[in-house]
Amino acid sequence: MTRSAISVAAMSLPTPQTEVDNSKPALPNGIVAVVKQDCPTCELVDPVLGEIAAAGQTLTAYTQDDVGFPTSLTGVVDDTDLSVSWHHEIETVPTLIEVKDGVEVRRIVGWSREQWTEFTGVPNLGAALPEQRPGCGSLSVDPGYVDELTVRFGGSALHGRRIEFAALEDEMEAAFDRGWTDGLPVVPPTEARVLRMLEGTTRDPQQIVATVPPDLIEVTVEQVAINAVMAGCKPEYFPVVLAAVEAACSDEFNMHGLLATTMHSGPIIIVNGPIAKKIGMNGGHNAFGQGNRANMTIGRALQLVILNLGGGRPGGTRPGEKGVDMSMHGSPGKLSFCFAELEEDSPFSPLSVARGFEAGEDTVTLFAGQGPTPIIDQISRTPESLTRSFAAMLATSGSSKLAIGFDAALVISPEHGRIFSEAGWDRDRFMNELNTLLTLKGDDLIRGAHGIDEGLPADFAGMDIPKFRPGGLLVMHAGGDAGLFSSVLTGWVGGAKGSEPVTHRIGS
């Protein structure tokens, strides 16, 4: 059988006629052989199996495909549903297993005269055969079968309620009809896909991840996995999704308030550490935008968790529709706003290190914000000039008349970053210079100043006011290698009154 024939065969795995028995089938005592006809090594050892039986050994053969194989034995056991192979984790055929008192003692795979002779105690096995041959892949681990087998035999690990779509229901439309989407189509969360997602973590599916607002629902790893499937995540993204959900649902981050605010803001996820590259995240050109699956789906998974599990529905998206999220404009970033910090060539230490983690640790940082607002400066070539340029834009972040209350994130591009690294400025030097420039005059900020009624109360006149509270300005490095622009991500209410940025370690 060719490879393409195998993938076609995957469509026709025998369907059980009765209720599937999920329990692990016991193996008979003696020697057990698991083989398939579609394997040259198994064909090679067919006569050897006959020799072992003829020598008086108790030998039971299980066949994965052809019940008339091996030809040298009678009473071959039909394992074409792969139940025995799956449960006993057969990875290679032929596999020989020694069973004593119903318990596996040892196993060998492939053909090796020396090994088989030692294993069976029968001398001169397969005299006409070569000394050894590697085996073939077991059908129970064939990519075309493995998901379906995992559902069939291992599906009981999932606790979620099963929902059957009607035969004539389009599965994409069915998800829209049930209110499970963010306005874009979702991947149907079948058991096979959810089980595959769970392969991305070592955590128990029933472990509680977080209490998700606004309904304050304790959600399990499995429930998050279901929504990660719908978002389009790959299993290797799942640890990042779990860390993002944990961080977003911490008291300090205050996802509840961030969801309910009439401001534009939503959770922005910044990923640090080697995992970003490992799973193919983007911190370069288009880092905030479309095109990268990990960036787009990790942030989306967090939002689907809040929507479907937390009950955080956006209101007003259709006339009369009610929802906790009554953001006045909303933001396209609330579909997904997730990117990797570009750690290489950064003039500064990574954001995660600035926030107290070790270099090389995988982390997510959650920041409540929106944007990006561009900072255009194509002329500055000194750090002094560029820092003033940044400060002038940051000073008006959110409002030119308000200070301290709202946070911001500054994302420095590689071309701008180079100006700092070439001048030898590190993070501390830059932050000191920036904070000095962002100390504003109360006279400019009070209500009525510059003809604008908005502003700080009159008591602030004559005072020096920092634009940002301590810890209220995050600085990071991302973007493509061409473009003398940087970005401000305007934040939401910062600190204990609103949201504190939160950094969490990404687990396994």
């Binding site: 309620r161 779509f165 279901i226 689907l304």
Partner: protein, 91 residues
């Protein structure tokens, strides 16, 4: 036919009945909850005057910040000491 796993949280269908509408404000204990938005106090000051005029006993409460849900203790205190509560949202 596709079988999927429910992506939503199982929620009980338990319905919570509303408290009956008070027939009179006279002698009623009314809590006024300021969510700490600017100028919410102006609205609540006026409400307090009007309610006191018709014989209600008014107690003022405030959330520490409008950006977070009211703390559990505050909710409990209001529920224990008041027959009705009015929450002010203002800007």
């Amino acid at each position: 036919m596709t079988t999927v796993l429910d992506p939503t949280a199982k929620k009980s269908a338990e319905a919570i009945e509303r408290v009956a509408r008070p027939s009179s404000l006279d002698g009623l204990r009314v809590g006024l909850l300021d969510i700490s938005k600017p100028r919410g106090d102006k609205f609540l000051n006026r409400l307090e005057e009007r309610l006191t005029d018709v014989g209600a006993t008014v107690t003022r409460y405030a959330k520490p910040t409008f950006a977070k849900p009211a703390p559990v203790d505050l909710r409990h205190e209001i529920a224990t000491n008041c027959d009705a509560v009015i929450e002010a949202l203002a800007d």
